[in-house]
């Protein structure tokens, strides 16, 4: 595992790897997403209390999982970038942030749409909703901060520090429904004692989650190639300019 990580640490090798890998991740994503959509919209039962609105869960919950998972991976990458100065860690973190922000926005908006028919309100400032909203703000802050510096290294360093500070929000999001009385329901899949959700609802949930995961991988691989090309172009320009002078 460490050998693979070391092998991919080289930007040129990673570019080659992502060029080859992203068509496969896109293909796997389309398989999971299409079967997940079919199950979630046409082949899963309505809830005995919520009726058809329970189908919102199949996009809301995987998006919320992804928003946290991407932030967690960004935290790991930030540690690698700050401690070991891993050449790809800051690029991966920078390229992950817009995707994570997108998933957080999806989780917030679909949650709000789900909240209206079930709670009778679009939004409440309870612990879960507020902590996820803070996560969205941290993502936006990261995107802005990393691009605010002319020196990429300084931007990456500032972004990594912000990510590490913001990581304290992750356990708050996860356990907010246990620590405080909230309108949001407690965990029913990722919890001690196993999931309490019926298998017929679990299948579309897992399929959509896998579809979103492979969407993240595909876009990340494309974004990393873009970032590597931009950095290579900058280096070529500097080289050309210094040769002229």
């Amino acid at each position: 595992m460490i050998n693979i990580f070391n092998f991919l640490a080289n930007p040129s090798r990673f570019r080659l790897f992502s060029q080859k890998a992203y068509p496969y991740t896109l293909f796997i994503m389309s398989i999971f997403m299409s079967t997940g959509l079919w199950f979630s919209l046409f082949n899963s039962p309505p809830d005995y209390q919520q009726g058809e609105t329970v189908r919102i869960m199949y996009v809301h919950v995987p998006a919320a999982w992804m928003s946290m998972m991407i932030y967690f991976s960004m935290t790991i990458m930030s540690i690698f970038a700050l401690v070991w100065r891993h050449p790809l860690a800051d690029i991966l973190s920078k390229c992950s942030a817009p995707i994570g922000a997108g998933f957080t926005l999806v989780a917030l908006v679909t949650g709000s749409i789900w909240g209206k028919p079930t709670w009778g309100t679009w939004w409440v400032w309870d612990a879960r909703l507020t902590s996820v909203f803070i996560l969205f703000l941290i993502y936006m802050g990261h995107i802005t901060l990393v691009r605010a510096f002319e020196d990429e290294y300084k931007g990456a360093r500032a972004g990594a520090i912000l990510t590490l500070i913001g990581a304290f929000n992750l356990p708050i999001i996860k356990f907010s429904v246990d620590w405080w009385n909230t309108l949001h329901q407690p965990a029913s899949v990722l919890k001690l004692g196993g999931p309490s959700i019926h298998i017929e609802m679990m299948v579309p949930l897992i399929l959509m989650a896998l579809g979103f995961l492979f969407f993240y991988f595909s876009i990340l691989l494309i974004n990393v190639q873009t970032e590597l090309n931009i950095r290579k172009l900058k280096k070529l320009f500097i080289k050309k300019f210094s040769e002229k002078n």
Binding site: V59, H60, I99, V106, I219, T226
Partner: protein, 51 residues
């Protein structure tokens, strides 16, 4: 119950709109960067050939 379906469709529409936006934006940025680097390589080769 029929009335509630509008919430379901809105949630799915918004989700895929965001995913599509992210996908298209990433793809366009990739195309632009790829085009820039290709044209830079061609320019450099032309300059080298002239030399």
């Amino acid at each position: 119950m029929e009335k509630l379906l509008i919430f379901v469709y809105s949630a799915y529409f918004f989700t895929f709109l965001v995913l599509l936006f992210i996908g298209i934006k990433s793809f366009l940025s990739f195309q632009k960067a790829h085009k820039n680097i290709s044209s830079f390589d061609v320019d450099s080769k032309n300059i080298n050939n002239k030399k």
